[in-house]
Amino acid sequence: MQEQSSKYHIQEAIFTLKRYSCFEAIQRDFERPVLFNQIQLYYSDSPESLKDCEREIKRWSVLQHPNLPQSIDGWTEEKRLVFIWLAPRGVILESVIRQKKTPELHLAIEIAIQMASVLRYLHQQGLYHGSLSPNCFSLIYEKWIILLRTSLPEILNRIFEQADTGLRQKVNIEKLKRADITGWGKIMGALLTGDPYFEYKKEVNVKTPLIDAIPSSIQHKFPGVAEKFATILLKAMCSTLQPQQGYTSFDELYKDLVQLKEIYLSLNNTNS
């Protein structure tokens, strides 16, 4: 396995979480960046937890979506499990928000659709995140979104924690599902307004700042689009606090976004 490790040159840590570390590395054969994920193993780890861990990695490796990193390699060593994901180098969405680089309307819609599409795909596979934030996503070539930080690290940690403590944590899927929808809304709201702490609050007008984030000249050119976009974001953001008024699934949300894009395109065509 020494041979396999030597195919990658680790550069810097992206994030660490208890036993899980994710590094940016260079795949020497192709001189391209990859994500080098490793899980620290201890001699005390039970064979069952190792098996569970490998099963989870396999479950993620078969996923294929344009907005997900692709699994390309993996192996077990004496003290660690390693798996490599192919993901091009991009800009973390959080830094885009902090730099207040508000995307143009058509790009904002495109990003919203891509994010919703990958989360919808994961939900269809029974995989939920639960703690989405702007640093989970990377923006490639200012156009494509990649979900860099998946829920896999948390899942793997949970496996070892359960094995260590003997306590099985209950996962409320409905809660995670809603949290992802709300998380999506918050990220998009933050991206539009340039406010990293933008969120939904009851009895506060959140819609107007969202609409106002879109320049008035654009609003005038695309009447109704900003309003509809803000309504979708609002409906997503209140999914956890006011479930009756929010979206119940990414399918619903995705459908509304596609419809929004169609309206935008038809208006764009009329204007041109």
Binding site: I57, S61, P66, Y141, K202, V206, G224
Partner: protein, 478 residues
């Protein structure tokens, strides 16, 4: 070639089955032992890799391909050596070729047509940005995978050394040069290649066969060509094909003959074409104008020939003297498209050179004649912000009832048209709906209150430049 048996192990892979075999390479479906996912493994024959020059080209090309990233581009995973054979693994795909999908009319709605072409154009733009020439790109280099196009052709190559093309290396040079998909070329960007690739793909999409064949048929026999074309128009929405012809022609033409100056221009045309659907396309038809040779005593007369108005079965008439210099050879340089003089002494002009300055002059004169007042009006005074005014017949309404809110007394000092923006300034925003809103028609809107409480409603009006300060209404819902 080693001929891998089922369940044999190569690197970290277990062989599931052989997928394809040629004298120079073999493809296998394999399973990654640790990841459990299915990849494709291609083993290149030692016949190729034993030639140092050839081996260098292949590894360099695979590296170049692996560095590219686009959602619709096949991904290469790993490479290595196995029993003196070079191998690489890449994404497994099962979809049918896009060409097949289009020809069997599985993709025929305008929405699908637009969706696919904009995606194919997107990848061509990406390759162009990466300085990757894609002049040999064909529709069958793509498959439809999970509803999305995927560019799968992996046979990428640099210039092949001439000695590999000699009979001593029968087949080797051909492998590198003739099964091409993407030509990795770190040379000055060739927009023309990308335009040509897209024109070819569009051509194939609508079932006309290859662009090269079609143009040759056109030159030989006009009627056969029209017949073939009409047959394939059937599945398409009327009106689209005229635009397609124009796009193809503009993609093939030189920039100074009305051709595209950038891929973005092409993307814009494609966009407007598909969305217009049944309407006639707005793309300017090609207009030719000829100056007949005259005797020196006479003034030359101008004869303008415009391409006929597009109709559903109008025949496609590219300029008669459009020459395509051998598209079929893959080694050829960028096809030169040149417009030659049809007869000696005749001069062909692009009418835009005359027409555009003429229109500009007329516009300027009209503006001077009619527009002095307008210019005075616009430039002579500042654009002032509009003023919002809102009224309602009652401030106390029962829950779930409709109330008409009136903003029609709002005005703009410059008399600009106003759009009306109704919002909840205070209270539960989700409990109130305004129909209509944010349009010119929303001067009078119907508000529906779904909850009890006190709501502060604000109206802002927009004159195209400025928003007014808000006008406030307080509604008590019981």
């Amino acid at each position: 070639m080693p001929g891998l048996a089922e369940n044999s192990i190569v690197y970290q892979y277990r062989v599931i089955k052989k997928l394809q075999e040629t004298p120079l390479w073999e493809d296998y479906l394999v399973e990654h032992l640790f990841l459990g996912c299915k990849h494709r493994l291609r083993i290149i024959s030692s016949k190729l890799t034993n030639i140092p020059e050839c081996s260098k080209i292949i590894t360099r090309n695979i590296k170049e391909f692996a560095k590219l990233w686009h959602p619709y581009l096949l991904r290469i995973f790993l490479c290595g050596e196995f029993d003196t054979n070079f191998f690489y693994t890449f994404q497994h795909f099962e979809g049918e070729s896009l060409q097949k999908q289009f020809l069997t009319e599985k993709i025929k709605s305008p929405e699908d047509f637009y969706k696919f072409h904009s995606k194919l154009l997107d990848i061509i733009i990406y390759l162009n940005q990466q300085n990757v020439s894609c002049k040999d790109l064909h529709l069958n280099d793509f498959v439809l995978e999970n509803g999305e196009p995927l560019l799968i052709n992996l046979n990428i190559f640099y210039q092949t050394p001439k000695y590999l093309m000699t009979p001593d290396f029968a087949g080797v040079g051909e492998f590198i040069t003739n099964i091409g998909g993407i030509f990795i070329e770190r040379e000055p960007l060739k927009l023309k290649d990308s335009l040509l690739a897209f024109a070819r793909i569009m051509y194939q999409t609508i079932g006309w066969g290859t662009l090269e064949d079609a143009l040759r048929i056109k030159q030989r026999e006009q009627s056969a060509y029209t017949k073939k074309k009409e047959k394939h128009y059937a599945p398409l929405v009327p009106g689209i094909h005229i635009g397609i012809e124009n796009i193809i022609l503009r993609a093939l033409a030189d920039k100074n003959e009305g051709g595209y100056a950038s891929l973005k221009e092409l993307a814009d045309d494609l966009h407007s074409l598909i969305l217009k659907q049944e309407k006639e396309t707005t793309i300017t038809p090609f207009i030719e104008c000829e100056i007949e040779p005259q005797s020196t005593e006479q003034e030359p007369s101008l004869e303008i020939k415009e391409t006929p108005e597009p109709s559903e079965h109008s025949s496609f008439t590219p300029p008669e003297d459009l020459h395509l210099s051998d598209y079929s050879t893959r080694e050829s340089t960028v096809p030169e498209i040149s417009i030659h003089l049809p007869h000696p002494g005749k001069k062909r002009l692009n009418v835009r050179k005359i027409f555009v300055p003429l229109v500009i002059t007329i516009c300027l004169l009209s503006l001077l004649y009619f527009g002095i007042d307008i210019i005075r009006g616009v430039w002579g005074r500042r654009n002032l912000p509009p003023v919002a005014k809102a009224t309602t017949p009652t401030n106390f309404v029962p829950v779930n009832s409709k109330v008409i809110l009136d903003g029609s007394t709002s005005y703009d000092p410059n008399k600009d048209r106003l759009s009306y923006y109704w919002d909840v300034a205070k209270g539960d925003t989700e409990a109130v709906t305004f129909v209509p809103n944010r349009t010119i028609d929303a001067s009078k809107t119907t508000a529906i209150f779904k909850k009890r409480g006190v709501f502060t409603i604000q109206l802002r009006v927009f004159d195209g430049t400025n928003f007014s300060p808000p006008a406030i209404l307080v509604i008590n819902v019981y």
